[in-house]
C-alpha cells in the first residue's frame, strides 16, 4: 500500500523481570509522520515498552530497528543521540534555570569555550515560535505553568533532531485549552515527518489526535489498528480483555445479600465536591449498609474521588455532609474522626510498614485514633488482633511475624483489618484486589459483602468491572475525571452497558 517504511520497528520484544514476563514477544512499529497511541490498562506493559525503547531497560529478546538499522540503546543519552526523544509525564527539566537554558543545556552554542547566550536566546525564541509559544526565554522555567514547561520539554526534545518523539502521558496535568495547544503542536510535528508515540488514559484525546492505536494487555500485543476503524467500545473491550460477545454471555451476578436495601438519610453526601485537575465537581450519596462501586478506566478519577472524600486531598469546590450536617474533611485525621476509613491502593508505599509485625500494623490506626498518650494494653491488642486474624483468615496466623513476609493477598487483609478495628461507618477500599491471587480476591469480595450486610457503608474502587458489578448496590461510572453516570445495580445493568458508558460518556 502507500505506507512509507517504518522509522522504528520493534519485533518480538521480550523483557523478563524476576518472576514476571513484562513483555512477551511484542511487535511495535512507528511510521514517519504519524501519531501512534499506545494503549493498555495498568500492568499491560506500556511503560516497560517505552523504557526498553529509550534504553532505560535492556531487552531479553527481540530486536529494535531504527531507520532500518539494528540498534540497542544502553541509556537515555544514546537513545537521544540516535533520535529518540522522550517527554515524560512529570516535566524533567531544571525549573531554576531559564527557559532558553533548559532547551540548550549540554548543547549550548559556544565560541572559544564561552557560551554564546545571545545566540542561545535567539535560537530558543525561534524554536518556541515554531511551537506557537511566545514566552520570555530569559525567565526561569518555574515562573511558567506546567503546560508551558511541557512545551519547553518538547522544544528541547525536537531540537535534538528527533525522528521519534515519545510523549508519556503529557496531558495528565493540563487543562482543556492547554491540551488543545499541545495537540496543535503534535499535529504540526507529525506533518513535518516526526513519528510520535503518544500515551494517554483519556480516550477522547486518543480519538482526537491519534492516527493508529496499538493495544497491549498483560505484556502481550493485542493488535494494531487504525483509529478510524476501531470504535471506542471495541478499544475498551480489547484493553480490559473481554470481547463484547463474551461479556454479554456472562450470567447475572449472584447478588444474594444485596437485593433489598432500605435507604433512609444518607450517611455521607458530597455536594458539588471537586478539585481542579483531579476530578470535576460531583454529587454522591452513600447510605449505611450500601456498597457503592466506582467504575472507570485507570486515570478516570477513581482514586482522586476517594481521596477527596477522605480528606487526603483538599477539595476546591463543594462540601460534604454527614448525617445531614456539613463537615469539613480537612485532613485524613478529621475524616477518621468522622468514622471514615481508607484502605489505600498502594499497600506497600502508603499502607503497611513491612518491618513491623502483623499485630503492630493492625493496631496502628486504632492507636492513632486514640492518640499516642493512651496506649492500648497488650492483652487487649492480642485479643483484637487474634479476632481479626481469624475473621479475615490471615495466613500465617502468627501475629508477630513481619508483614513483609506475607503474601500480597494477606497483606491486603492486614490493611483491611487495621481499618476494620477502628469500626468505621464508611470504609473506602481502593483497588483491594490488585495483584493478589484469585482465592484471596474471592475472600476479600465476600468480606465486603458481609460488612455491608452488617450495616457498614463501603465505597469500593476497582479496575475490575466484574468485581464492581458483583458487589455494588450502586455504580458510579467515571470517565476522563468526571462522574458521568450513576447506575442502580439492578438486573439490567451489565458489563456491556457500563463499558459503553465508559467508552462514550453517555447511557446507551
Amino acid at each position: 500500500m502507500g505506507e512509507p517504511p517504518a522509522v522504528l520497528e520493534m519485533t518480538g520484544i521480550r523483557k523478563i523481570f524476576p518472576g514476571v514476563v513484562a513483555l512477551d514477544g511484542v511487535d511495535f512499529r512507528l511510521l514517519p509522520g504519524e501519531i501512534h497511541a499506545l494503549m493498555g490498562e495498568n500492568g499491560a506493559g506500556k511503560s516497560t515498552l517505552i523504557k526498553v525503547l529509550t534504553g532505560v531497560y535492556g531487552i531479553d529478546g527481540g530486536e529494535i530497528r531504527l531507520s532500518g538499522r539494528d540498534v540497542r540503546f544502553t541509556g537515555p543519552l544514546q537513545a537521544q543521540q540516535a533520535g529518540v526523544s522522550t517527554v515524560y509525564q512529570e516535566v524533567n527539566l531544571c525549573a531554576n534555570l531559564s527557559v532558553a537554558e533548559n532547551i540548550f543545556i549540554g548543547r549550548q552554542p559556544r565560541r572559544f569555550g564561552r557560551i554564546r547566550w545571545a545566540e542561545m536566546r535567539r535560537r530558543s525564541a525561534d524554536l518556541l515560535a515554531r511551537l506557537d509559544l511566545d514566552v520570555d526565554v530569559t525567565a526561569p522555567l518555574n515562573t511558567y505553568s506546567l503546560a508551558v514547561q511541557q512545551m519547553v520539554a518538547i522544544a528541547r526534545a525536537i531540537d535534538i533532531d528527533a525522528k521519534v518523539l515519545i510523549l508519556d502521558e503529557p496531558t495528565s496535568s493540563l487543562d482543556a485549552s492547554e491540551v488543545a495547544q499541545l495537540f496543535a503542536i503534535m499535529r504540526r510535528l507529525r506533518d513535518a515527518g516526526v513519528a510520535i508515540l503518544f500515551v494517554s488514559h483519556f480516550l477522547d484525546q486518543i480519538y482526537e489526535v491519534a492516527d493508529r492505536i496499538t493495544v497491549l494487555r498483560n505484556g502481550a500485543l493485542i493488535g494494531e489498528y487504525r483509529t478510524s476503524e476501531l470504535p471506542q467500545v471495541e478499544l475498551v473491550g480489547k484493553m480490559i480483555g473481554k470481547e463484547l460477545a463474551t461479556l454479554e454471555q456472562l450470567e447475572s451476578r449472584p447478588r444474594d445479600s444485596t437485593e433489598q436495601l432500605e435507604r433512609g438519610e444518607p450517611l455521607l453526601r458530597a455536594e458539588g465536591l471537586g478539585r481542579e485537575g483531579a476530578i470535576a465537581p460531583f454529587t454522591l450519596a452513600i447510605h449505611a449498609g450500601e456498597v457503592v462501586g466506582l467504575a472507570g478506566l485507570l486515570g478516570s478519577g477513581r482514586t482522586e474521588l476517594a481521596r477527596l472524600l477522605f480528606g487526603a486531598d483538599k477539595a476546591d469546590s463543594g462540601h460534604i455532609e454527614m448525617g445531614g450536617k456539613p463537615v469539613a474533611m480537612r485532613s485524613p485525621r478529621a475524616a477518621m474522626a468522622h468514622g471514615i476509613a481508607f484502605s489505600s491502593e498502594n499497600r506497600r508505599t502508603e499502607g503497611l510498614i513491612g518491618e513491623l509485625s502483623v499485630r503492630e500494623n493492625i493496631i496502628l490506626a486504632l492507636q492513632a485514633a486514640r492518640g499516642w498518650t493512651r496506649p492500648i494494653a497488650r492483652r487487649r491488642q492480642d485479643d483484637l488482633v487474634a479476632k481479626y486474624i481469624k475473621a479475615l483468615q490471615i495466613r500465617p496466623d502468627n501475629p508477630e511475624i513481619p508483614v513483609r513476609n506475607l503474601s500480597g493477598g494477606n497483606q491486603q487483609k492486614v490493611l483491611l483489618a487495621r481499618w476494620l478495628i477502628t469500626e468505621p461507618k464508611l470504609l473506602i477500599i481502593d483497588e483491594p484486589t490488585r495483584g493478589i491471587d484469585v482465592g484471596a480476591k474471592a475472600e476479600i469480595q465476600r468480606l465486603v459483602a458481609e460488612l455491608s450486610t452488617g450495616g457498614m457503608a463501603v465505597l469500593f474502587v476497582s479496575a475490575e468491572l466484574e468485581e464492581v458489578l458483583r458487589l455494588s448496590h450502586k455504580i458510579e461510572v467515571l470517565r476522563d475525571r468526571r462522574l458521568v453516570e450513576e447506575l442502580e445495580n439492578t438486573g439490567d445493568v451489565d458489563a456491556d452497558r457500563v463499558m459503553h458508558i465508559i467508552a462514550s460518556g453517555a447511557t446507551s
Binding site: 537515555p76 543519552l77 537521544q80 515524560y88 524533567n92 527539566l93 531544571c94 525549573a95 531554576n96 534555570l97 537554558e101 543545556i105 549540554g106 549550548q108 559556544r110 569555550g113 564561552r114 557560551i115 547566550w117 506557537d132 509559544l133 511566545d134 514566552v135 520570555d136 530569559t138 525567565a139 526561569p140 518555574n142 515562573t143 511558567y144 505553568s145 506546567l146 503546560a147 508551558v148 512545551m151 528541547r156 487543562d175 485549552s177 492547554e178 488543545a180 495547544q181
Partner: protein
C-alpha cells in the same frame, strides 16, 4: 527584554501581567540585593558612629584580611550550588599550611611547594567527590571524614606551629599596592579577587558552570537531560579542595607560618558567607558576587566589633542572627517563586 505577550492559555501561572508594570527585581537577585543593602547599611552605621571609619583603609583591609576566606568561600559556592556541602575546607587549610611550612623548612623551593600543595588539596577534594558520587554517600558525611583525615594528617606531620622564613613567602606577605601611606591592597587580596573573577566567568559562561546550576536545581532531571552529572559533581569537590588549598597557602603567607590548628571553624565561616551571600543551601540558585558580599559582611561585622572594642563573641552572635535572617529570607523568596 521582558515580554509578557504570551497567549492567555499558556500564561496561567506565569508572571501576572499587571504586576510587571512596576519594577520588580528578578526573584533570583533579591538575596544578593538584600546582602548589598545590608553591607551599605552597616557601613553607613559605622561611618556615622565611629571616627576614622570612612578611611579608605577600612574597606581595603576587608579584602586583605579576608582574602583566604574569600577563596575558600568561592570553592564552597560551587559545592553548595550543586546542593552539596564541604566541611573539610578548614582542615585542608591546616593541612596545606603545615605541608607548605614543612617542605619549605626542608629546603624545597617555593616554585615546587606551591603546585604540590595545590595538588594535595585538589586530590583530597577529588577523592571526596568520587566517594560522594560513586558510593552515594551524603556530602556531609564524606567531607566530615575528609575533615578529620586532613586535620589528623596535619597533626601527624607537626603538632606545633612551624615558622616560615622562605624569602619568597615573606616577600609575598609584604607585597602590596600602596595608594598612599597606610592605604594599600595586599597581593593576596588581588589573588582572591582574581579567583572570584575566574569563578564568576566559569559559572556564567561555561558548560561546566551551567551544569552546576542544573544539578542543584534537579539532579535527576539533569541526568535525564543527558548532562555529565558525575563528572560535574566530582569536579566541584575537586575545585573546592583546590580553593581550600589555595586559601591555606594564602593563610600561611599572611601568617608566615604553618600550623595544624590553622583554619579551625573556617568551613563554618565559609558556609555562613555563602548563605548570607544569597546562595540557596538546597542548590541551584546564587552567584559568586553574592558570596563576595557575604564575606565582606562577615568582615564588616568584625570591623565594627573592633571599633566598638567589644568581645569577639558579639561578632559570632551577629553572624548567627544574620544567618537565621537570610535563611528565612531565602525560604520566603523561593516560596513566592512557586
Amino acid at each position: 527584554m521582558i515580554d509578557v505577550s504570551t497567549t492567555p492559555a499558556t500564561n496561567k501561572s506565569g508572571p501576572a501581567a499587571g504586576r510587571r508594570r512596576t519594577y520588580r527585581p528578578n526573584a533570583q537577585y533579591i538575596p544578593v540585593l538584600a546582602t548589598l543593602t545590608l553591607l551599605i547599611v552597616m557601613y553607613t552605621l559605622g561611618a556615622v558612629n565611629y571616627e576614622n571609619f570612612t578611611h579608605p583603609s577600612v574597606i581595603l583591609n576587608l579584602f586583605t584580611d579576608n582574602a583566604f576566606l574569600m577563596v575558600v568561600a568561592v570553592g564552597m559556592t560551587f559545592v553548595i550550588l550543586t546542593g552539596g556541602i564541604d566541611l573539610s575546607v578548614g582542615a585542608v587549610i591546616a593541612l596545606t599550611s603545615t605541608v607548605a611550612a614543612t617542605l619549605l623548612q626542608a629546603g624545597w623551593p617555593a616554585g615546587v611547594v606551591i603546585p604540590t600543595v595545590l595538588l594535595v588539596g585538589g586530590v583530597l577534594g577529588l577523592g571526596m567527590g568520587a566517594v560522594i558520587h560513586f558510593f552515594k554517600v551524603e556530602p556531609f558525611i564524606a567531607t566530615l571524614a575528609g575533615m578529620f583525615l586532613a586535620r589528623g594528617v596535619a597533626l601527624l606531620i607537626d603538632q606545633n606551629s612551624i615558622p616560615i622564613t622562605n624569602g619568597f613567602w615573606t616577600g609575598l606577605a609584604e607585597a602590596r599596592i600602596v595608594f598612599e601611606p597606610g592605604v594599600y591592597i595586599s597581593a593576596m587580596a588581588l589573588v582572591a579577587l582574581a579567583v572570584v573573577a575566574v569563578a564568576a566567568v566559569v559559572l556564567a559562561w561555561s558548560r561546566f558552570g551551567r551544569n552546576v546550576y542544573a544539578i542543584g536545581g534537579n539532579a535527576d532531571s539533569a541526568l535525564l537531560m543527558g548532562l555529565p552529572v558525575g563528572r560535574t559533581r566530582i569536579g566541584v569537590y575537586t575545585l573546592s579542595g583546590f580553593c581550600a588549598a589555595l586559601g591555606g597557602l594564602i593563610y600561611s603567607i599572611t601568617t608566615t607560618s604553618g600550623y595544624a590548628g590553622h583554619g579551625t571553624g573556617t568551613e563554618l565561616d565559609a558556609i555562613a558567607a555563602v548563605v548570607i551571600g544569597g546562595v540557596l543551601l538546597t542548590g541551584g540558585s546564587g552567584y559568586v558576587l553574592g558570596t563576595v558580599l557575604g564575606v565582606l559582611v562577615l568582615g564588616m561585622i568584625n570591623t565594627i566589633v573592633n571599633f566598638q572594642s567589644l568581645n569577639s563573641w558579639w561578632a559570632r552572635m551577629a553572624i548567627g542572627v544574620l544567618l537565621f535572617a537570610f535563611i528565612v529570607l531565602q525560604r520566603l523568596v523561593t516560596r513566592r517563586a512557586k
